[in-house]
Symmetry: C2
Subunit: 346 residues, 2 copies
């Protein structure tokens, strides 16, 4: 009999509320014969304030035993910027080698977009997750003086770039339009840019059916608002991916519906799934947060674990729910979760 | 009697065509008593192919003698990516210490935007121009092998950050709304991020009337498409500035109307003014390019040299011209230039 042994990290702010709904929908969609075990972990601001810890080796050992991780949100204004990001979120991505950061963008019918007209948006960004400017390499000298110098080192390896580029080509190959765009800034960041471009062109030879294009990250932001239908699969560096996926989320319905997977494709470590939005402390605890992005992250989680039919049922339920929202009064976090749970069960 | 001694760099592709119109409008707007001298320089792809040179020390010596530089566009697909960018455009910015890269975004009446509704857009980005990931620091080892490692080093100094932050505060102070946003990614790029944030907060104390906010670059792209009216002045790092100014141009009428100044505020070196768009080789030589961004760059140039009334006349002429475009047949590059020249003269 099948089973899913899930680590659950509600985290800070609205993380608690949205994760509860994600689990509700997960339970509702799973067939009877699949045994779902969940274990909740207390990470984030509360634990940091209480113990000074963000993510210990013992935590990583414990998390490692799970099939996957569902995360709500981590972050609170009471913690200095960078502490939980570098100490928890990025530490986990690096420790579990989450090199494929998967972020689909699809504008569903009935969902509003800041763009004029009726843009067709359906693409997925494959963002590198373990290299680039995110490595934490760099430093500061003469801190706080008028002679301070601070550096940030973007580290890019053939190994790290090739595996994510290959993953993106495989995803493009499996989609009807079979298009892949590389986004970088190879005219300025020539060292990293040439590495990315050369590997992209080399791997392209193995995927003759995939149509490729290259664009600079600055130009890409223009296309994302003027011709978003142009994109099918995008592969890009960690920092450029951070930027373009927030913009992509904004144009395709907002971060209320943007899901993401931090994936370790080999399965050596559990992958982690989380909404793109943050902990939104301003609305935390009020039952106002939209759990849809978390529910869609559960669909990515199920797809990653091989439950394709169940993932598709969630996607359909969300599409149907979003399609009926216009003009209706706003529902609470739990009401949206209940409605989605009913749909996926039915 | 007054005079302007201008270096003119038409460059590649449509650069030639748009610069001709920029000069036409410049001549038309200047009062009789101002003597305009121009000297044309041949830089870009043609010169690179003929001589292998992009920008020599002798070139820099010659350019240095001018009061300002007007540039059309540099770049051609026949030249490998990075050669003209690093060898000419960035070399000039660094050699002439163009640390204030000024990019206004204003959505003028009658101009179409990809955004729905009727957004009010009127802000200016002060992009740092001589530091950050643009320094060319970094390198490659084991090039072309499966063990290649490529690094890019973002270099940030208290000196370099403070001068551009101070410039941005002064600009914010001089505008009616007096708002300044710092855009960075200080939760991940903690070394550079803390330098920027600390200096920003320190300089803020000298400008108590300026309302400040900080936002991460990823969040900024969301606000640029969902709440662009939120922005008044933005100050940011070289690379983030590159990205957000293209997005800003896209939402505020397109790069056909986006002007920029690469400014050396002390006047030690001449400042350079150029449209944000590139050389557009696909439409070069056809008289189709819109010279408006170049004409607006001429206005920035005049303002920089102290010709405020003339700059304002150009801005007004462009606003009037753009306001009358809707529904009319497209005009040629020269026709638009002629129309603007007539307006500024009249
Ligand atoms: C919170 C932060 C560390 C993170 C990132 O920059 O990757 C977030 O913006 C994201 O996109 O997941
Ligand atoms: C062409 C390139 C070097 C340049 C930059 O990245 O600064 C351009 O994109 C710009 O914004 O002026």
């Amino acid at each position: 009999s099948r089973s899913i042994n899930l680590a659950v990290i509600p985290g800070d702010g609205i993380g608690q509320e949205v994760v509860a709904e994600g689990l509700k929908v997960l339970s509702a969609v799973l067939p009877q014969d699949v045994k779902l075990e969940t274990k909740e972990y207390d990470f984030g601001a509360r634990r940091y304030h209480a113990t000074g810890e963000t993510l210990t080796d013992a935590d990583l050992d414990a998390l490692k035993k799970h099939d996957a991780i569902l995360l709500g949100a981590i972050g609170d204004p009471s913690v200095p910027s960078g502490v939980l990001e570098r100490g928890f979120l990025l530490k986990l991505r690096f420790a579990f080698d989450h090199h494929v950061n998967l972020r689909p963008s699809k504008l569903l019918p009935g969902v509003s977009t800041p763009l004029a007209g009726e843009p067709q948006i359906d693409f997925v960004v494959v963002r590198e997750g373990t290299e680039g400017p995110y490595t934490g390499n760099g430093g500061t000298i003469r801190k706080g003086t008028e002679h301070e110098v601070a550096t940030e080192v973007s580290v890019n390896t053939a190994f790290g770039v090739e595996r994510v580029v290959r993953d993106a080509f495989a995803r493009a190959q499996a989609r009807p339009r079979k298009k892949l765009a590389l986004i970088h800034k190879n005219n300025v960041l020539t060292f990293a840019g040439h590495l990315w471009t050369n590997i992209f062109n080399k791997v392209a030879e193995e995927f003759p059916e995939v149509t490729t294009e290259y664009m600079h990250v600055d130009a890409a932001t223009i296309y994302l608002v003027t011709q978003p239908e142009r994109f099918d699969v995008i592969v890009t560096d960690n920092l450029f991916g951070d930027i373009v996926t927030d913009l992509a989320a904004a144009v395709s319905g907002g971060i209320g519906v943007a899901a993401s997977g931090n994936i370790n494709p080999s399965g050596e470590f559990p992958s982690m799934f989380e909404p793109v939005h943050g902990s939104a402390p301003d609305i935390a605890g009020q039952g106002k947060a939209d759990p849809t992005a978390t529910v869609l992250s559960v669909a990515l989680l199920l797809r990653h674990l091989g439950y394709e039919a169940e993932a598709a049922r969630i996607d359909e339920a969300v599409a149907a729910d979003l399609g009926e929202r216009a003009g209706k009064p706003a529902r609470s976090t739990a009401e949206i979760g209940d409605a989605l749970a009913v749909r996926v069960a039915g």
